[in-house]
Amino acid sequence: MSITLAVNGALATVAAEPRTHLADLLRGELLLTGTHLGCEHGVCGACTVEVDGAPARSCLIHAGACGGASVRTIEGFAEDAVMAALRESFSAEHALQCGYCTPGMLVVARDIVLRLPDADEARVREELAGNLCRCTGYRGIVRAILGVLAARRAAA
């Protein structure tokens, strides 16, 4: 089937089998390999991208359902100020080692920062429960997000 969707602000028309999920579409057809695949059944969070303005599992949206959607992958946040702050904070706090979970972590982290400006550590940890990291033990990731939250509160 032929699918037209917006990816990082540009319309793309791709041919795919209906069973192809969005993550494979992004990686295989559009060569946006910043989106990573872990479990492919919605548990690990590695493939999380923004769909129609909200984080979603790209492994659980099959091609047909992508028609008309607006998708933003990690590559699409290059100019985003919140994501820039998160990237710096992730680096400063050693919030990644291998980096496999990082694109999904950043998409969810940005959602936490924007949706829950008053989140404390317990809430950040709860919100991160759907993104697995096997390197860091999460401490650096939680500190990085809390750091951006604190900086934004101080600047407000």
Partner: protein
Amino acid sequence: MKPAPFDYARPADWPAALALLAAGARPVAGGQSLGPMLNLRLALPERVADLRHLPDYAGVSMQGETVRIGAGTTHAAIEDGVVPGRLGEILAGVARRIAYRPVRNRGTIGGSFAHADPAADWVAVLPALPGHAIALGPQGERRIPLAEFVLGVFETALRSDELLRALELPALPAATRFGHWKFCRKPGEFSKATACVLALPGAVPTAVLAALDAAPLVIADASALLADPTAEAARITATLALDDPWRAALARTALRHAAEAVR
């Protein structure tokens, strides 16, 4: 894993959706349950019918004192307060603990209820509430009491030619008390035991015990549970003859905590 091949259809209106259903298509809403089942090849439909673009599928409207929740309303919308009043508060508290936010952004209340996974959150809560599931079939709409909707594991009162269109619940008085407790070893994973208790002012309290690998247990009169949570939770759980002692302990604990949490 990757799904086996299937065809995709996107009905634009309800008659088209019912026609696809009659032709054997598997209905899908947010796809947060069916999606993993497709990827793991636990589900092998020849065709899926994507209900998300049906008119009025998502969204909440007030009809007098009745709240009508479109079956396609997402958990995230409910978490964020799309349902008004005390009912909305209760549903928002439940929605917030369903899976993870990226899943809640796609998953829907109707899709989850109609899927009827025994560990699902709405399966464990909606049967305690007054109101009806609105099924749509070739003959029109049919109202199914929420307490009678889930019949078993992945089994509902929907007929094979019906779709779940909406949920209709009465607006709840501000003094309505509610307790809810579930056990997950990790936030967001499937519950191992869930219970809730609903106490409407001046009415007999109701309760539900779920995540039992069976239909939820609907307790139509939970007065005794509220009066003595420990003893009554033990008595009710003993009647279930659960095989594993740890499952029985969790079920008992869930009922007790839900009753103690009523406020």
